[in-house]
Amino acid sequence: MRTSVCDIVLVGVGGQGVILLSNIIGKAALKAGYPVRGAETHGMAQRGGSVMNHIRLGCEYGPLVPAGGADVLLAFEPAEALRYAHYLSEDGIAVVNTYPVHPTTVTTGQFTYPSLEEILRPLQRVCNKLKTIDATKLAADAGNPQAMNVVMLGALSEYIPLREEELIEALSVSVPAKFLEVNRRAFELGRREV
């Protein structure tokens, strides 16, 4: 029996705005009348480490999405998508930003960063649908590469039971007014891309 309307796992690299985005989704969900539960990564991992947030719409249990249970995996970075692929449900959708961020273990030459192909192939296998998007570039097109997370929000909006107005409203109370125009454009580019 389902215990949540929609389970989302958001992953990325510390500093990419994962927490901000979870908060926007959470606020929008509240507007839409859903009970909502989220789990956030604060503290140590934020120093450029791998970051994972969970958000559960229409759920009144614990904040953690069980492994194999995510309806959507929203990945801000391709390697991180694969790192948390085991959270995806068989029927789930992975939405992946294809722009890689190399960890220091790669920049210092200890490890190599796999090709996009190698990352996407196993992802494709474990879920129902894989959507790739060059969100970092689209954010730059919108006028600010920092708005990558909002491009991803636009893409995500096609797959979750929240209305665009609810998301935009939550967005506008969460980011400084002077960035709102860029963010709206970023959202729209993301939405149209998927």
Partner: protein
């Protein structure tokens, strides 16, 4: 980060657990808030700081948890509601006042909010603070989610006043750093006019008084149970003759698992310690088999086992000791579901793993920021001391530099200096250079330095002074000249303190000046007594926030021989491309790599 409390207009808001706790503290009319930063607890104090003036509350970052708790105790004894906030290991630092506080009791409601960290997300151990409540003989509330955390802390103040005892609120990481829709109430003004009433038999713990108060505490144990008997956070649903008992957030995991399994299993959810004897025995008499589900220590399990001896001696009791529930790490619905399914012979969910993730992915551990001065300090330290010296270290961002070879120990706050002393006194003859951050130094490093001076420890102490408590989210401390509310205050100088405590050699140096830093470390190494090197440079994040911009650097490919020296330095802004180094957009312009490159290939971007 400023957590928006005031913006709560609707009575239902999407709140972080810690902000919900802060909201509860405000609603309860608390007058004094103290604490020391520590993940996952820090946001509680941070969320309250902006409201200090408006509601007439004293909010402080204390120097350490012992100071924090003692300040809060003073306020309570003067008759106001007070709260002290810390992470689990912080309670070790505050354990001295905490234990005797149970004897003296309180006047104004006093809550100690202690966040546990199952899985050690950001901690050095997984201790269970419920044990502390049990040890001290005081009540403990164990919230399952942000709503309960907010509701419980308000109740905790009332309970504290009713019993004249401190109350421990014990959220865990997945409560403190969970967010959910939370219903809130009105904010009360701060209570009556406080006044300290002299009462030596109560507040002066001479042996004769202490013996009397110990008896008082023991006599209160029944009153604690009576008070907790019908709180709404202990709930029993009787179904089939198999049951689960789950505490705090494990209760939510268990409820979800039962729903998924559609299983006919009785459930008792526990939100208090001591647990309710009535509900527990009702369940125990109803079932033949029960599983106790909780994170960390088998605190509840041991309690249930004792009760079962009386109420159901034939009971089959499963939990941590039977190996059904892990004692290490945190739980989630997946694990709890499989534990319950296993108990009832239902099919288990298969653990999903994607093998490529283990095979091809590079690890992405957290690392020091680009341009972080700690990296430069450690580089210079290693140059001067060589890799064979002994490098005890401490708790802060700098512990992330463990791969540089200059972090040999990390035990608890402030232990670097004392461990270094002990290693020397044991007879270690190699050079010993320890490192400790500024906030940690002021937290518990001070007595360690004094101890080293007093007992003639021949060691070098490096204070990594970046003018902030960086790791926990950049809180101010006594060296910064600011309080938690942003008000100006006295700034203590690490250099003056080190001199006053008796160090033989005290030199402050800018770690971005690599040669000067190496040379200072060399002099410190030659010092025959206690030497202190203060490596002073703003934390990169604070520098950026305060508008400091340095010109970035770039690699001149013509001069780069591909020797990788700069790459090995480990700054995330330096990458390696086929045969030469490259500096990416993350460069903050600290200029240290340019000083490391012996081919003069790294230049400032003009």
């Amino acid at each position: 980060m400023v957590y928006k409390l005031q913006k709560i207009i609707a009575m239902k808001e999407y709140l972080l657990g810690n902000v919900a706790i802060a909201r509860g503290i405000l609603e309860a009319g608390t007058r004094v808030v103290t604490g020391y930063p520590g993940t996952p607890a820090s946001e509680i104090v941070e969320a309250l700081a902006p409201f200090a003036r408006k509601y007439g509350i004293h909010v402080e970052w204390s120097v350490n948890e012992k100071a924090a708790l003692e300040v809060a105790i003073g306020s309570s004894w003067a008759g106001t509601r007070a709260v002290s906030v810390m992470k689990h290991v912080g309670l070790n630092v505050a354990a001295d006042p905490f234990m005797t506080l149970a004897y003296t009791g309180v006047r104004g409601g006093l809550v100690v909010s202690v966040s546990d960290d199952p899985f050690c997300h950001s901690s050095q151990n997984e201790q269970d603070s419920r044990r502390y409540a049990q040890f001290a003989g005081i009540p403990c509330l164990d919230p399952a989610d942000p709503q309960e955390a907010r509701d419980m802390i308000i109740y905790a103040f009332e309970l504290s006043e009713e019993l004249e005892l401190p109350v421990l609120l014990r959220p865990t990481t997945r409560v403190s750093h969970a967010s959910s829709d939370v219903e809130v109430g009105q904010i009360k003004g701060g209570g009556t006019n406080p006044e300290f009433t002299k009462d030596p038999a109560r507040w002066v713990m001479l042996p004769a008084h202490a013996r009397t108060r110990h008896t008082v505490l023991l006599e209160k144990q029944d009153a604690i149970k009576t008070a907790l008997a019908d709180v709404p956070w202990n709930r029993l649903v009787l179904r089939g003759n198999i049951g689960v008992i789950a505490s705090g957030i494990s209760g939510l995991y268990a409820e979800e698992a039962l729903k998924q399994l559609e299983a006919d299993i009785s459930i008792l959810r526990i939100g208090t310690f001591p647990p309710p004897d009535g509900l527990c025995s009702e369940l125990l008499e109803h079932v033949t088999k029960v599983m106790v589900i909780e994170e960390l220590e088998p605190v509840l399990e041991e309690y249930v086992e004792r009760l079962a001896r009386k109420h159901n001696p034939d009971l089959e009791l499963l939990g941590k000791r039977s190996g059904h529930i892990p004692r290490v790490g945190e739980l989630d619905t997946f694990q709890v579901r499989n534990a319950i399914a296993g108990m009832t012979a239902m099919p288990l969910l298969e653990v999903i793993s994607v093998k490529e993730a283990d095979e091809i992915l590079p690890p992405r551990p957290p690392s020091l920021c680009p341009g972080c001065s700690h990296r430069a300090t450690y580089y210079a330290m290693k140059k001067a001391f060589g890799k064979d010296a002994v490098f005890p270290s401490d708790i802060g961002c700098y512990t992330l530099a463990v791969r540089m070879g200059t972090i040999d120990t990390c035990l608890c706050m402030g232990a670097s200096i004392t461990l270094a002393s002990g290693i020397r006194f044991a007879g270690e003859e190699r050079d010993i250079c320890c490192s400790i951050g500024d906030s940690t130094f002021l937290h518990t490093g001070l007595p360690g330095l004094l101890n080293a001076a007093y007992n003639n420890a021949r060691i070098t102490v490096t204070v990594l002074d970046n003018s902030t408590t960086a790791m926990t989210g950049h809180q101010p401390h006594p060296g910064t000249g600011f309080t938690v509310t942003g008000a100006r205050t006295k700034a203590v100088s690490v250099e003056t303190v080190a001199n006053a405590l008796g160090a033989d050699f005290v030199v402050t140096v800018d770690p971005y000046d690599l040669n000067a830093t190496i040379e200072t470390f060399q002099r410190a190494k030659e010092c025959q007594g206690l030497s202190v090197v203060i490596a002073k440079q703003l934390c990169g994040i604070i520098a950026r926030k305060s508008g400091i911009r340095r010109r970035p650097f770039t690699v001149n490919k013509e001069n780069c021989t591909g020797c990788r020296k700069c790459v090995e330095f480990g700054c995330p802004a330096i990458e390696f491309d086929e045969d030469s180094a490259r500096i990416n957009a993350l460069c903050t312009g600290c200029g240290v790599c340019a000083q490391i490159c012996s081919n003069k290939a790294i230049e400032v971007v003009e």
